[in-house]
Amino acid sequence: MRRPFLGVAVFTVVVVLAIAAVGEMITRVSGEGGRRPAVAVSAGTITPEAGETVFWGKGKCSTCHAVGTRGGAVRGPNQGEGGPLGLPIGARAGERARERARATGKPYTATDYLVEALADPGAYVVQGYKNEMPNPFQPPIRLGSDEVRAVIAYLQSLGGTVDLAAIKLPAGLEAKSRAAAEWKPYVAGDSEKGEKLFFDVDSSAGCGKCHRVGTRGGSVGPELTTVAGTRDPVFIVESILEPSKVIASGYETVLIITKSDQYVTGIVKREDATTVEVADSQGRIQQVARADIKQRTPQTVSMMPGNFKEILTVEEFHDLLAFVLGLR
């Protein structure tokens, strides 16, 4: 029984490895997992190019719409040239607007039609297609109003004329969107310089001492490899400038006072029945015997230095931010 069992075990491992190899091959061929370009659409950066990035990325528009020969989706109308509707969206929006004006008795421009198509996708569905487009303002897509404007600019550019001034989102949406407006950097940062600042432990930032990105950096603070994919820019800015405002779960600071009146402050990295391991702001680990602890108090102040407002120049801050916002 032993010999066949060994053969079966080897065979099983080989089959699993072969399937895993197919997975590796798929990732190589498809290019999935490659770093996506950071998208930070703001009032100053509403351009067709920014809209194109949203269309093919965060907005997920491309999962239903192709643009000419780009993309293969057929659920929604092709927004480029050569699809079943012939003209690209920028060119046919005018005719659609005239149809809308006739149907509703209200004046419609081509841009008004595009705005309606995004803000209320079910209002006037293209014949032959199902009324199934999700509202991009709502979960799970949740685009900001500037991102939607950029997408409309991109659609205008497909066979039409880009006219940012003509894009008027419904008042309610605008107000709602403003309430959750994203922080807008007023200086364009250089992410390469930001990366240097991040990892250079002798620089004024030196974030890499405590934070890991990919395989680089320390492990005292939270890993930031994909932080911009899960946290919005407002939160990231706040975390840099006011680190104590919200402390990431699992990274709360504690103050331990031992029976010999020694004060140990840091993040608890590990603890068992006998000892507690605490990491200080430099990543040094200190072990404290449980039996020696007189008092253990959670702190409301983060271990992360709270003086970046003072020690970073405006330019350095935006360089650093540009790098962090690209971590997706």
């Binding site: 069992f5 399937i19 997920k60």
Partner: protein, 664 residues
């Protein structure tokens, strides 16, 4: 049947009872911890939303534990279904081998049950510890179901004891009662699965949510009966049966390879055949259950649906197609090798190469992606983003046609295998009234299904699909084809009555292939272009035609070959080692497939715990690459199979090496 030793079962009972109590405690703890008010928050300190697992990824830990729990869950649900089916076959057919097989596998359940419970407990602890915010939310919606779940666990455990330990006592007149116990065991198991399914389905399709506050304002039943609950359950039940069948096949293969006597080899060869039969049988409707689930996912959220088939997860479906290809081709290959042990089957050998060709071509279609990322030079060389011909094969219509062809081919393989040692068919009149009754009932069911859907298509309101009245014209061709198939049932029934049963089978196969694969396969492209929303109805028409073909051809086959002359016997045990490795390949593949599908189902939510309601803001809320996923799932599969081997070894400790009563 040799009576089992008394000491071992008692130990097993204690072990399983202990696991039941432990599981109940874990659930109670979970409810108490997660349902309670967030005391820390109330006290002023912020309650933890996430915790890492000793500095490493909480998501990875939950992924591994949940997947292992799910796989063992599938095992303890799949094996009783398998055992019940086999026991009923043995009972009604009077063949004791089936009864012994069912008993042997039920014996494995006790240890597997404990392992499932242990992983369940670990999963609950991991979720409470690592994802407290999410568990608080889920508990606030589902806490009432937790108690029912725990009670059902007891019911299932106790029914299992009665079923397993009462096997010898409930023979003869009480056999029916024993079979009923087996069915009851499956009822408990299925209800347990339905409850757990409600939780995970709800995470994808939440109901009873106030869209302004994103708070749950519905009832527990509303949450349970969410739109994905039943589609997921159907997919999982079928998946579990296929899983159980292929696990049994692999177990038999390992025992076959290590067997020292002819009798043992014959026994395990037969066991492997039954396992493969059950596995393949459940595999046949699985693509359609998957299509139904996918359709409902799409209806729940177009974003999630598109992400699945046309977005971040579309590549994982290429891998899925590879694995399903291995299952179908492997299952067929095993049948073809098996024909070598059937005297007379050599007559059908020439067909194998054609079936193989059909399978390979169909899989090539299934595998073809619509588009792949290309460089500028590659696009220039290709003349555009898409290949001029292959682009059509990447569309759903081509894939629906391909999967129907695969299923028809596999069924054809099985029919050839079944008739391997049959001689001249039995005249229809020899079946008497029973034959006529079976033929009439089979035809009535087949025609009813076809007419029902033809009528549904002809009376379909185009508005429900957002189509115009003019586009309703596209509903007619599939409806007429369904009516045509109904006529074909009548024609072939008449042929069967005139002792031309094999011709009837061939005709029905041909008309089904023509209608569902070729005509509707091509017509699907027209529909995609002119009336896209109707494509899903075309797919249903194709599927119904294929299912009716399987049903009607089985009825005809039974009537044609039941009691027919035999051209020779079956030499059980005369199988080369490669056939057994095929069974092991099928088992490893389906376990990998289960891991992959689990990843897809869970990953579709992307960075949402509860889709569109509770966002995952942890550092681990990113979608892994296919490479990363296969590494993790591969490791889980090896861990699971290692544990299953250990469970089998445990269950076999002290068992007599007796394989008496080998198959004839």
């Amino acid at each position: 049947m040799t009576p089992r030793a008394r000491e071992r079962p008692r130990g097993r009972t204690r072990r399983t009872a202990a696991s039941l109590v432990a599981f109940a405690c874990v659930l109670a703890a979970a409810v108490a911890l997660a349902a309670g008010p967030p005391a820390a928050a109330a006290g002023g300190a912020a309650a933890a939303e996430y915790r890492s697992f000793y500095g490493t990824s909480a998501r990875l830990v939950v992924w591994i534990v949940a997947e292992l729990h799910l796989m063992f869950g599938a095992f303890v649900l799949g094996v009783p279904i398998f055992a019940s089916i086999v026991e009923v076959i043995g009972w009604r057919g009077g063949d004791p081998r089936y009864d012994r097989l069912a008993h042997e596998f039920t014996g494995l359940l006790a240890a597997a049950f404990s392992t499932t419970a242990a992983f369940g407990g670990l999963l609950v602890f991991a979720l409470i510890g690592l994802y407290p915010r999410f568990m608080t939310f889920l508990t606030s919606v589902f806490h009432e179901t937790y108690y029912v779940y725990a009670l059902l666990f007891f019911a299932e455990g106790f029914t299992l004891y009665l079923y397993y330990y009462g096997w010898d006592r409930m023979r003869g007149r009480l056999k029916g009662l024993h079979v009923a116990l087996g069915i009851l065991l499956n009822v408990w198991g299925t209800v347990l699965m339905l409850i757990a399914n409600a939780w995970v389905a709800y995470m994808m399709a939440p109901t009873g949510i106030d869209r302004k506050t994103l708070e749950f304002v519905g009832t527990t039943w509303q949450a349970v009966a969410n739109p994905l609950w039943i589609p997921l359950a159907i997919h999982r039940v079928l998946g579990n049966v296929a899983f159980g069948g292929f696990i049994v096949g692999a177990y038999a293969a390992v025992r076959f390879l290590g067997a020292r006597t002819e009798a043992a080899r014959a026994h395990y060869d037969w066991m492997g055949y039954v396992g493969n039969f059950v596995g393949l049988g459940a595999l046949i409707p699985l693509p359609f259950a998957g299509y139904y689930l996918g359709r409902e996912i799409y209806s729940t959220s177009a974003v999630m649906g598109n992400n699945m088939m046309g977005g971040a997860f579309s590549w994982t479906f290429i891998l899925q197609a590879v694995l399903i290809g291995i299952l179908f081709i492997g299952g067929n290959y095993y049948l073809w090798i098996g024909m070598g042990r059937i005297e007379g089957a050599e007559r059908y050998r020439p067909w194998v190469k054609y079936i193989n060709l059909v399978l390979l071509l169909s899989f090539a279609v299934w595998l073809t992606p619509r588009n792949v990322p290309l460089t500028g030079e590659e696009q220039t060389a290709l003349g555009g983003q898409f290949h001029p011909l292959l682009k059509y094969l990447g569309l759903m219509s081509a894939k629906n046609a391909a999967v129907n062809f695969i299923i028809l081919s596999t069924f054809f393989s099985f029919l050839l295998y079944r008739r391997g040692n049959k001689g001249r068919p039995r005249p229809f009149a020899a079946h008497g009234r029973v034959g006529l009754l079976v033929l009439t009932a089979g035809a009535a069911v087949a025609i009813s299904i076809l007419l029902w859907y033809a009528r549904a298509l002809l009376t379909l309101d185009p508005k429900t699909l957002d189509l115009t009245a003019a586009q309703a014209g596209y509903f007619k061709p599939p409806a007429y084809l369904l009516l045509g198939q109904a006529v074909m049932v009548l024609v072939t029934a008449t042929l069967a009555l005139r002792d031309r049963g094999t011709l009837a089978q061939a005709l029905f196969f041909a008309s089904t292939t023509l209608a569902s694969v070729f005509v509707l396969g091509v017509y699907g492209f027209v529909v995609m272009e002119r009336a896209n929303p109707f494509l899903r109805n075309v797919a249903v028409a194709q599927w119904l035609m294929v299912m009716v073909c399987l049903l009607w051809n089985t009825v005809l086959d039974v009537l044609v070959f039941r009691g027919a002359e035999t051209a020779g016997g079956i030499r059980w045990g005369r199988m080369p080692a490669r056939s057994q490795y095929t069974l092991i390949l099928l088992c490893v593949t389906i376990v990998m497939l289960m891991g992959l599908m689990g990843f897809i189902r869970s990953g579709l939510r992307e960075d949402w715990h509860v889709y569109g309601v509770l966002q995952d803001t942890s550092p681990w809320a990113w979608t892994p690459t296919t490479a990363y996923m296969t590494r993790v799932v591969g490791a889980i599969v090896l861990g699971f199979l290692g544990l299953v081997a250990f469970v089998f070894w445990l269950a076999g400790l002290g068992e007599k090496k007796d394989h008496g009563g080998a198959p004839a």
